[in-house]
Symmetry: D3
């Protein structure tokens, strides 16, 4: 059967702050600039979940993207949406809440749960002006 990539866009919004507690306050201010603001700032995150696999002859689908969205809602949105990533999400307790690391968090949550095909890429827009892609390695 032929193969394709299917993509579902989803979204959440959150507060965060970039701060590495192993480094000095001055290093943090210089390195992260306004992203180091002690009281946090925030973003609307837009996410593209990209799943690659064989097209089923029964359904014409690689995977039902409605199921992918339901899994995202349960395993990512419920943890991140309208939250403070640094304070409310244990996974970020010892990790920087950069776009790169948020993409890895989504990958870890979604990768093992994709019901058909495999998660090939997570694209995460932090703003309309920048995004990251993570492919699992």
């Amino acid at each position: 059967m032929p193969r394709a990539l299917v993509v579902r866009r989803v979204h959440f919004n959150a507060a965060h702050r970039l701060h590495n507690p192993a480094m000095s306050d001055e290093w943090n201010r210089t390195t992260f600039g306004p992203c180091n603001n002690p009281n946090y700032h925030g973003h609307n995150y837009e996410v593209e979940l990209c799943i690659e696999g064989e097209i089923s002859s029964e359904t014409g689908y690689v995977v039902d993207v409605g199921i992918v969205k339901a899994l995202f809602d349960e395993h990512v949105h419920a943890q991140l949406d309208h939250r403070n990533l640094n304070l409310d999400v244990p996974w970020f307790a010892d990790r920087l809440a950069s776009a790169e690391n948020i993409a890895i968090f989504i990958w870890e949550q979604m990768g093992p749960r994709i019901p058909a095909g495999r998660l090939a890429r997570v694209r995460l827009w932090e703003s309309p002006r920048n995004y990251v892609e993570y492919e699992g390695g």
Copy 2:
């Protein structure tokens, strides 16, 4: 000569329905949900035609995207735009009209006709929230 990928966005709109006649009505309703609606529903499809090849030293082009659009209009748009994919397009008589399969239809129509370089990818947006990519295999 250096190589590049060039992309032309085009579009069409159509009605369709997801229904596998080899399966029961109940299976179809459960599997496809509202996409199985007997009287069809529809979408605006946005298409990205991605052509990879050597940059011509004479034109600075991989391929003239105006020609690519004209070929799309003649060989895809004329068959799909403002049509019912299930009823009006013979290619879908025995195939599910999923986004994945529509991308394959476009690939088959466009691939052999690209006048310079080669069709590398068809990206098909079914809505602003989901798309598929097909690379010919």
Copy 3:
């Protein structure tokens, strides 16, 4: 208290056909062109629900747009999404399913149900290239 306009974007998709049964088939074909296709075509419709009113000093809101979306889901989306407007929606039995008339349908469904402020405008995108606005008159 100061006044503002608040807008919630929502969406649905549907099949439709433009056909005036009071006129000849030739008139319909000439007037509506491909939009008259007997087997229907379809669109992704994007909707902007615009509500004008006083900003509440208790909430800082004109109206909670989450409630507006829930009302849209119940009273519009449930009737139009993944449907054939001509065949599945009684309101269009004797009306042309043009973007103008779909905006009026949404206005009639939503206008009386807005819980604070008043519905000031329905903007309906039929494609990324055309939209209509209806303001109730």
Copy 4:
């Protein structure tokens, strides 16, 4: 001379929380839902600054939008971008940080400083799915 409206899009991002200290915690949780999260959440805000006036015969402009952007950077962006609206911006100390009120803040900062024409509207997108408009009253 003819008149026109000119619009410059600008942006900032911030953390905020909706919480009315005059009401009970339960009222706040019920009224604002996840927007009441104690540790804040955040958004990318996109702003449209709309200035109406006479077209100058000397410049062909209503107003130089480069100057409008510089004024926004100095008087709005410097106060709101990468900040926590509730904690870092004194104007919100006794006001709810709703999109409606943020639009009023921008109006108050920008309105008296427009060098030609007059500020006619502030449109503030809180997410790609909702926005507010404030016209000064």
Copy 5:
């Protein structure tokens, strides 16, 4: 009959330069900055043609936007697209080629030719970051 506003988006691209020959070179450089570059620069212009009128009971349309686009192609696109506004378009020989004035040009070309309803507004995007609106006065 109810009334509505219908909008068709169209586009063209062009080179231009802002320069007022009645003023000194220094005034022009100071006033227009890089927009005064002697060898021109350019833009993709996106246009929204907004027509207001009664909804026809025969067609469900205020106006057939396909006809509006054909009129734009003949009377605006043919003059402006892939042109240098200053050198190739006589109307700009004694007018500044600002977004404001381009909107007036489009208004003058399109206004008298709208076959049903009336042209209510021309919105012209000069870039994704700024636009103007002209309503005929």
Copy 6:
């Protein structure tokens, strides 16, 4: 350490003309059509700078995209923005100013200057309807 791709969108606008001086005027008119207009035309170019590399455990970044934007401003924007590519930019004196070649120019300017990771791709939108990608070879 895990690896990711990070992307910063930037932009400029410029006038240009496609014309190969080694060929006849007739060949140029036939090959390039309106893009051969002697007095130039123009575009808003949107650029995606895509950098691939290891995620730093100190910063959570592959690269600080703020630095990437500053380098773009200094080494690309300063040369191309509000310019005539054919007349004002020496690099294009003996090269066609096609989107493909502009992407190569950006690659050559940016590639050696990326401070962490490596430039993996330059995507250049010439209009909302077409773009090119160059990956350095």
